[in-house]
Amino acid sequence: MIARTVRIRLTGTPTGHRVRLAEFGEEIDPLQREQLIAYGLTAQQTLTVLQQRPMTVILCEHMELALEHWVAHHIWVEEETRKPG
């Protein structure tokens, strides 16, 4: 059983799942990227997805952040899964 990481979009993460932030997509403009970093969203940060509608709401440390889907769609996260065998 080998652990591997799968990179998915934040909007594709089911509610209640804990994921690690991988990177921001290039579509997110530099100002918004700085804003996200300022909120504490940096690579390898653990995030918990609290809800996906009407906006993506995540828990980052102990701060709840609401992200519009366009932004969440361009945030890539990693989810640890078990490879069969």
Binding site: L36, Q51, V57, L67
Partner: protein, 654 residues
């Protein structure tokens, strides 16, 4: 153990202590604790939009400055620029960084930049109670050692840690830098710092800190450098050093490296214990932003406000104040007294006649408006202290996207229901000039302030709930249509929403009462002079025989197009000073208006010119040209759509 030497700033007797921190971390409450001066505080980001200053309780020679919250530095928004301006221009003794104890990594991200400015710093880790409630334990001694400057845990709302904080201010040191950037960036920093030290030294900020800000494209520091002799040349060299856009731009790399350093330090001093149960707070927070249940909750909140402000405030309390106390006891007594001493002349009429300063101006302000705004500010205070308003921006985001805005604009809009003037100032929390322009226009056009809202609910609620609902529907339609149109006409693009959701909590009644008292004081100081001036103008027009002429001149518009009684012209004259003053004029006409006229009259007056104070604020924020353009659009629009509504309702047999 602190190893850095005392900063020259301390020795030279510099006198300003500045509070800096993220939005919604309790800077303003701490400011109140340290100075005794109350500034508006709320459980949502963006309450402080201008710096506030007061003498410190612990050192009367020193002044304390409360700055607007910064999401990050280098500065990007107006609030951040205002804070950067304070750092650049104040004679700084030290910086008190106020941080959120439950988000240490984020707090240290800002510390990583402040530490480079060469100014002594104390870190107040505020909201320590909320951190404890989440099982977060921070080793402040280890953190203090890591930063080489004092770190104090505080709970500003409860006064915890305030004495410890003031005691440690004397031992504040310039913090140790949190990181060394990568070699390429360090080289760029050194080059710019050397240029600054040689050609444009700042009186108290370190060249290295300014170099980092300039490489991060801080517009406020760029503005400062342009005022220096060699500023243009320095800026040109900086711009040639590295790419300024894209994911690998210098500003992005600087921010990323600070973020990593902050995360590393936070990990070493934080322990996560088992947290007590917060189910109820989380459940309320979840319901408030739920795609389905969020809307019934919003409607329930609006209905509760309607019952409390419209029914209780504008109905029961106004009845007691106006009919029982003013009309029954106070005004007859004052009128008798004045008539006895001044006779029946014009002076007595000016004081207690039909358009008397007391019988009209003060009676409107105290008997009609005061109970309404008091109930509104109480309801508003409860909602803002609970943390509900930030969640409102989430469920309203889609509707605001239709207007070309994002859900953040809901905060000034909701504040506008309290006072449009205050709300116009709060548009500074919006990130782009485009968002500020559209929001300011919508506030000026279609958002009724609390006094006007109360009068409207009082008049229309007295007729029927459906009359009040119809008025609300028409206002929402106008808001959506003009917002949609503005979103398409004003240049620029919409910024997607990213916002923090502060924890939902039980409102603290002490906070609510203090805020209500502060707002009432501010409101009455603004309202009473304008009500008295308006009354005097009405009195003068009446005495000069011009009022019947105004009523006659307004007939085609007021009676013909809007379908109102001729006397309603006077309400529109009053509305020039304040919309709520005009609305009160219609309130007095009450029995002469049928349901249709009441809806049309209140609708038109809601859209009518914003009050004088709001116009002045629009001039201040947007300039005289934009303010004049807004007025030129708003006034004809109000009469045009008011008339359309009149004819449509008549046609529909309302």
């Amino acid at each position: 153990m602190y190893c850095s030497p005392l900063s020259p700033a301390l020795a030279s007797g510099n006198s300003t202590l500045v509070l800096v921190g993220h939005p919604n971390v309790g800077k303003s409450v701490l400011f109140h604790r340290l100075t005794g001066t109350y500034v508006n505080v709320s459980n949502y980001p963006g309450t402080t939009v201008e710096a506030a200053r007061a003498a410190a309780r612990f050192d009367r020679a020193a002044s304390l400055l409360d700055t607007p919250g910064v999401l990050a530095l280098p500065s990007r928004s107006d609030d951040e620029r205002a804070t950067m301006r304070a750092l650049l221009n104040e004679n700084l003794r030290l910086i008190v960084q106020v941080g959120d104890a439950k988000s240490l990594r984020r707090t240290l991200n800002l510390t990583a930049l402040l530490a480079e400015l060469g100014v002594p710093l104390v870190l107040a880790l505020n909201m320590a109670d909320e951190a404890r409630a989440r099982g977060v334990a921070i080793d402040t001694a280890a953190l203090s050692e890591g930063l080489a400057t004092p770190v104090v845990s505080t709970v500003a709302t409860g006064g915890e840690g305030i004495t410890a904080l003031t005691d440690t201010l004397a031992s504040a040191r310039v913090p140790a830098p949190l990181l060394r950037y990568d070699d390429e960036i360090e080289q760029a920093i050194e080059t710019v710092a050397a240029l600054l030290a040689e050609s444009a030294p700042h009186p108290h900020l370190a060249a290295r800190g300014l170099a980092i800000l300039l490489l991060g494209r801080d517009s406020e520091v760029e503005r400062w450098i342009k005022t220096q002799a060699a500023g243009g040349e320095i800026l040109a060299r900086i711009h040639g050093l590295a790419p300024l856009t894209g994911p690998d731009s210098l500003p992005a790399r600087l921010a990323r490296e600070r973020g990593r350093a902050a995360a590393a330090l936070a990990r070493t001093v934080t322990r996560q214990d088992a947290a007590p149960d917060r189910t109820l707070s989380l459940l309320f927070g979840k319901i408030a932003v739920h795609p389905l249940w969020g809307w019934p909750l919003l409607l329930a909140v609006l209905y509760a406000i309607y019952l409390f402000v419209g029914d209780f405030g504008a109905g029961v309390l106004v009845g007691l104040m106006e009919e029982k106390f003013f009309a029954g006891i106070l005004n007859p007594g004052i009128t008798d007294f004045v008539r006895t001493h001044l006779g029946q002349g014009w002076l007595a009429d000016m004081l207690v006649g039909e358009y008397g300063l007391w019988t009209m101006g003060m009676t409107y302000a105290l008997a009609l408006i005061l109970p309404i705004v008091t109930t509104f500010f109480l309801a508003f205070g409860v909602l803002e202290d609970s943390g509900y308003f930030s969640r409102l921006s989430v469920i309203a985001n889609r509707a605001f996207a239709f207007l070309g805005l994002n859900g953040r604009a809901v905060l000034p809009m909701v504040l506008g229901l309290g006072c449009v003037t205050m709300a116009t100032l709060t548009t500074r929390i919006l990130h782009t000039p485009r968002e500020r322009l559209i929001t300011t226009f919508l506030l000026a056009l279609a958002i009724p302030c609390s006094a006007q809202l109360g009068v409207v609910l009082g008049v229309l609620g007295g007729i029927s709930f459906s009359a009040a609902a119809l008025w609300g529907l028409c206002i929402v339609l106008i808001l959506l249509f003009t917002g949609w149109l503005s979103g398409r006409l004003v240049k620029g693009h919409r910024i997607p929403l990213v916002t923090e959701l502060p924890p939902m909590r039980m409102p603290v009644m002490g906070n609510v009462l203090k805020k209500t008292a502060g707002r009432l004081k501010w409101y009455l100081a603004e309202v009473i002079p304008l009500f008295l001036l308006g009354t005097f103008i009405m009195f003068a027009l009446d005495r000069l025989g011009a009022l019947p002429w105004v009523i006659e001149a307004g007939k085609p518009l007021v009676t013909g197009w809007l379908g109102l009684p001729p006397e309603a012209s006077a309400a529109f004259v009053m509305g020039f000073l304040r919309r709520d003053f005009g609305a009160t004029g219609l309130f007095i006409l009450g029995s002469q208006l049928n349901a249709l006229q009441a809806v049309v009259g209140m609708f038109t007056l809601t859209l009518f010119v914003p009050c004088i104070a709001s116009v002045m604020m629009i001039v201040k924020e947007q300039g005289i040209r934009i303010a004049a353009l807004m007025l030129a659009i708003i006034m004809p629009t109000a009469f045009f759509v008011g008339g359309l509504l009149n004819h449509f309702l008549r046609f529909a047999g309302f």
